[in-house]
């Protein structure tokens, strides 16, 4: 089951790089949230109940429901299609595929040297690092601020996967602090995103060039 979820997660990454409709981004973010929920459930069954509930809440409520709905509300369904990506369509799919394959090869090659405990950590490692790199790629390849936000969330999902690969957990206090921080940063970014749209007619990072030497 874990394998199935990881493969689906990687497929969602590849699909993310191809997407043009902003609405599809929100759908994919919700899907990734649900996949992470499934992974967390199967991976962390053995930890204590409160901890498990907290992580399930984080993935299902925060990642799969709150964030996509919040972003949809922020954009008020006014932005339908993102634009200006220098690398378009199938080329970006190709690049994402290369990133995923590269991450798998590197993870597989070095897992002996790094003495990663189990083979399944290689899978987590591949998906996590791919997600971080694909997130960076999405952010760099697009000029729309909303895709920048999506890129950030994909990176965050990658980091969540990395922490799942770790298996054991940080103390509850630390986990809560981390979740609160990410929650607030998404909230504040959403608020600023709205203000940006008021100032700069469309939400294009190309217009953010007032500050220079």
């Amino acid at each position: 089951m874990i394998n199935f979820f990881i493969v689906l997660f990687i497929v969602s990454l590849i699909y993310l790089s191809k997407v043009e409709m902003v609405k599809s981004y929100f759908m994919l973010m919700a899907m990734q949230g649900i996949l992470l929920f499934g992974l967390a459930y199967f991976e962390l069954k053995e930890i204590d109940l409160v901890h498990l509930l907290f992580i399930l809440l984080e993935t299902l409520v925060f990642k799969a429901i709150f964030v996509p709905l919040f972003l949809q509300r922020v954009t008020k369904n006014r932005i339908h299609r993102h634009h200006n990506a220098p690398i378009k369509g199938y080329y970006s799919v190709l690049i994402t595929a290369v990133i995923v394959i590269g991450c798998f090869m590197i993870s597989y090659e070095i897992h002996d040297e790094l003495t990663i405990n189990a083979d399944h950590q290689v899978k987590y490692f591949t998906a996590a690092i791919s997600s971080i790199l694909v997130g960076l790629f999405i952010a760099i390849n697009n000029r729309d601020l909303i895709t920048h936000l999506i890129g950030y969330l994909v990176i965050e999902n990658g980091i969540f996967l990395l922490s799942l690969g770790l298996g054991a957990e940080m103390p509850m206090f630390v986990n809560s602090a981390i979740l609160l921080d990410i929650f607030t940063s998404v909230l504040i970014m959403g608020i600023f995103f709205n203000k940006m749209k008021d100032y700069f007619q469309n939400a294009d990072s190309g217009q953010l060039s007032q500050l220079k030497d």
Partner: protein, 474 residues
């Protein structure tokens, strides 16, 4: 006590946000500074002691904590004047003061935590607090700077968190995962060095945005430019110190392992690259605030280079940070006054400052002499120690490159600063009501402290820094 402090921080920040009365809002910030002083009195007698499972107070944290108290106090005083001059709306004052309390509280957490996870969480909290402060002016520049800062910092902090998780992978191989400094330091010798190197690389990359170093320095410069000057002062001093201490905690934990020379090389490369970019940009910059921001980047680079040498370099780095915090805050505070008088941040619109505002001009002149490390500035001493450390390590070529780049920066700063202080220019309008003697006197005191440290090297300060770095390899 420390938990009570954080609870009170949250309560004060929330209360301040809802206060719709300017004076009362300022009083809340002063109340918070007083609370910080109480905590300082509580922590000073017990250095190195664990306060609870997640916090401890060591000498380095306390040194930066005292600077935090001083800079916060002066920022609060300067902000009062700023509010009156700009006629800032009550709601904006409330948000700014609440943001200040939140931001300062987050830095206190960074300074005193003994857990890598908590360190990360407080670091992220500083980003959120700083965003509120940077957005203060509510104009297009502020919005652009805030968005960029928030976004790039969040990416940087996410990268740093990946570093913390890599440390977890390393720790997992030798048994249990405990992210406390003491546990990691005790086990560091058995940990896989590839994981440790990857962890340290990601930590330096992620927290570079806080220190204003390569690779994520750009947003830091924009933030210092677009925010009010007293915020720029905090970003250039206390936040830089927080960024340093975050990197320092990882460095200290791994310093007993075989990757020590590798970490030193990495810090030296980061320092040299940052110094190079600072030198390139400082020559072309026209905006005084950006110029000081690049100067901060130069000093952060020098700190990293000194630190990478080890031994005397450790001492030089921390002494340099202490003095830079005082001088740079003072200069940023003065820029606020200069901006009020000339209504411009561009060097071409500002001239004869010493004649127009003698006391403010004196602050600018002495501050300028300090940041270029001219005697009797204390920063000369720390830079000399840095070169001594480089030579002791036989890094002659590095010393020469650093010397060359520092000379370029001094030239770039001198051309603009001497023009601002002495040269008569066609300034459009001068508003002398912006001059504030009591503000300049406070700034002058900070610079005199740095001169005093340079001339007399008080044993109290020297001994405190030596105790702070005694856990590092000789």
């Amino acid at each position: 006590m420390i938990y009570l402090f954080f609870i009170l921080t949250a309560v004060l920040a929330i209360l301040t946000y809802f206060i719709r009365q300017r004076v009362l809002s300022h009083v809340m910030v002063f109340l918070y500074v007083a609370l910080m002083m109480v905590l300082a009195v509580h922590l000073w007698p017990q250095p190195g002691q664990s306060l609870n499972a997640y916090f401890y107070s060591d000498r380095l944290g306390l040194i930066f904590y005292f600077i935090l108290i001083l800079v916060s106090l002066l920022s609060a005083i300067h902000y009062m004047k700023f509010v009156v001059d700009r006629n800032v709306k009550v709601a904006d004052v409330a948000l700014h003061n609440a943001g200040t309390i939140f931001f300062t509280g987050a830095i206190v957490g960074v300074l005193f935590t003994s857990h890598f996870g908590i360190l990360w969480a407080f670091m992220e909290a500083t980003t959120l607090g700083a965003s509120v402060l940077i957005y203060h002016n509510r104009n297009q520049d502020a919005l652009e700077a805030t968005w960029k800062y928030l976004y790039v910092c969040s990416i940087g902090i996410a990268i740093a968190f990946a570093g913390v998780l890599f440390l977890g992978f390393a720790a997992q191989q030798v048994g249990h995962i405990d992210f406390s400094f003491a546990a990691i330091k005790a086990e560091a010798g058995q940990l896989n060095t590839v994981w440790l190197k990857a962890c340290f690389l990601l930590i330096v990359t992620g927290f570079s945005v806080k220190m204003g170093l390569v690779p994520l320095f750009n947003v830091d410069i924009d933030a210092k430019d677009a925010s009010p000057s007293q915020v720029g002062a905090s970003l250039s001093s206390v936040l830089m110190n927080a960024g340093f201490i975050a990197i320092y905690r990882f460095y200290e934990a791994f310093s007993g392992t075989s990757i020590l020379p590798w970490m030193n090389k990495l810090l030296m490369i980061v320092g040299l690259l940052s110094l190079f970019f600072a030198a390139v940009y400082v020559l072309r910059v026209k905006n005084v605030k950006r110029m000081f921001a690049y100067s901060s980047m130069e000093h952060a680079s020098l700190v990293m280079i000194a630190f990478s040498c080890g031994g005397l370099g450790y001492f030089a780095a921390i002494l340099h940070l202490v003095m830079h915090s005082l001088v740079k805050s003072s200069l940023f505070f003065q820029v606020s006054q200069m901006h009020r008088i000339f209504n411009s941040k561009l060097d071409e619109n500002i001239g004869s400052y010493l004649r127009v505002n003698p006391l403010g001009g004196l602050v600018m002149l002495l501050g300028f002499l300090s940041i270029i490390a001219m005697p009797p500035s204390g920063m000369l001493i720390s830079e000399l120690y840095m070169f001594q450390a480089l030579v002791a390590k036989n890094y002659w070529w590095v010393a020469l490159i650093v010397l060359l780049l520092v000379l370029i920066i001094i030239y770039g700063l001198a051309v603009k600063m001497l023009g601002i202080i002495f040269l008569k220019k066609n300034t459009a309008s001068i508003n002398m009501q912006g001059a504030s003697p009591y503000e300049s006197i406070l700034q002058l005191i900070l610079i005199i402290i740095v001169f005093y440290i340079g001339l007399f090297r008080p044993p109290f300060i020297v001994d405190t820094i030596l105790v702070a770095i005694q856990s590092l390899p000789a």
